[in-house]
Assembly symmetry: C2
Homo-oligomer: 121 residues x 2
């Protein structure tokens, strides 16, 4: 069953977009793992809430990016919130398909700092 989030006009009007009309959106799965950070504009935020499916704005392609349309790796929205300054968004999602990342990984955050460090110095 798709979660449709009935955002109020006040909630939508509260969100502060940057000079490009974008706001960063964190997608975190139901177990707490952070999958990715991407960007939304006002239209794709509304589409995400209305459709219950993560829809970003692709900065590299400069187009609406309804995640999974090409890859099949779509993200079902479970919950959505904004932060104290209303300039960052956090979504709980259920990841469908292979994973969130275009590399095929489940999460985009696969590069630890210090991974290849061997001891001090």
């Amino acid at each position: 069953m798709t979660v449709i989030i009935q955002a109020t006009p006040d909630e939508l009007a509260a969100v502060r977009f940057d000079e490009h009309g974008l706001v960063p959106a964190i997608a975190q799965d139901e177990h707490g793992q952070v999958l990715m950070l991407a960007w939304m504009n006002a239209d794709t935020l509304r589409a995400t809430l209305d459709d219950g499916r993560m829809t970003y704005w692709s900065r590299s392609r400069q187009e609406v990016w309804r995640k999974g349309d090409t890859s099949g790796d779509w993200q079902e929205v479970l919950a959505a919130s904004y932060d104290c300054d209303a300039d960052a968004l956090l979504f709980r999602v259920r990841q469908h398909g292979g994973g969130a990342c275009h590399t095929g990984a489940y999460s985009c955050f696969t590069h630890p700092f210090g991974a290849s460090a061997s001891g001090p110095g």
Copy 2:
């Protein structure tokens, strides 16, 4: 015991900063809760890794923001990673003091969309 992350020059050079020299940084606690999203520049990223303590760049004050210096609510770094495009950072932290948010809340993400919606329509 403070975790000092021995980031390699290659890892640090991989990070892609935006036109303002900034990259978004997600702070998540050891239980998976997302606490905040803020910004780092190259210097505060390096300070964060070197000191084992979250240090951001305050966009509103345009200054280094070593979190907790004023509030006492500092963040101990447990792990750090960057994403597939190297344009977003994810930190596991232990939150000290009252909470991550300047409002006193533990997390900055306290505003759910649809909070005041009552049924469909």
